[in-house]
Symmetry: C2
DNA sequence: TGCAAATATATGTACATACATTTAATGTCG
DNA sequence: CGACATTAAATGTATGTACATATATTTGCA
């Protein structure tokens, strides 16, 4: 559906204004779909993102600082997201021996198992399936250019 | 900066995966910039969006339902956003005379004044300034296609 | 008419975001 | 060495998101 109809705004003042709204709206649309799928597995999107970062590090530990560096949203609260994951036994938290200010965070076996289940489901419905490879590249270039 | 560097992820499994992350990351980047600018005026992004919808209706009132229809995020809680705006005297809330279930919400003079101040500032630094008009159109087409 | 269904909004709860502040450990430099 | 700044993480507070439920009003129809 065209963005004009989705938010019932008949016209935009210009194509830039429309593009801006379109990015925000599309990101929300994607997030909502993701959140719905993840809900069946009992985790939220931020929790899922943190788990994937931890899997990338595995078997090395990550610190809260490293999580913040790699999270999509830099200002969110990694500490409290890890709290929730720890409660679900998907990660462990131990004081870092070489720097007792820092905390070593590791994904557990249960966490790895959960991620691989989710991967299987996500692989069945590929993302951005409506775009060709060339279009997806074009999109990446445009988005990178916006943030320059 | 390229998305790989921004989130310190050296490679993506494919261009679709990268595109997905890029949309989410870019939307966050835009939101954060907007939020920072709006903070000087004492309002948040959702509050700003609601105010703009109300200005679009002015001098007619809007209901909570109309706000939900037009908000970027359909599931957010319009009622409580209006609460905050009402506290700041930027909107008024009165029971709708023709349907006492509904509530007429109107932007106040103070609200209109605030919006026009913000417009002035935003106009000075146009959005998506790094894109040409053709590129912005292309972006809109790609984003619309993703949601088909 | 009367009563159930639908509608409009508000409220409750859990989680996340945004940002300031606090606490503890480590580094640094006089 | 010791005071002070820096760093890593946790905590506090306000706001927003997501979703279920509650309350009040209106509508429809037996």
């Amino acid at each position: 559906m065209k963005i004009e109809d989705e938010i019932k705004q008949p016209v935009f003042s210009n194509v830039f204004q429309k593009g801006l709204i379109n990015i925000l709206y599309t990101a929300g649309w994607i997030s909502q779909r993701n959140a719905l799928q993840l809900k069946e597995y009992g985790i939220t999107s931020p929790q899922f993102n943190v788990l994937r970062i931890l899997r990338g590090q595995h078997p090395k530990p990550a610190t809260v600082n490293l999580l913040i560096e790699r999270m999509l949203d830099k200002t969110s609260n990694a500490s409290r997201i890890v709290d929730k994951l720890e409660l679900k036994k998907l990660v462990t938290r131990t004081v870092c021996p070489s720097n007792r200010r820092a905390v070593d965070i590791r994904i557990t076996e249960a966490g790895l198992t959960l991620l691989s289940e989710i991967d299987t489901v996500f692989a069945q419905e590929p993302q951005l399936r409506n775009l060709t490879e060339a279009e997806a590249s074009q999109l990446n270039d445009l988005l990178d250019k916006i943030r320059d």
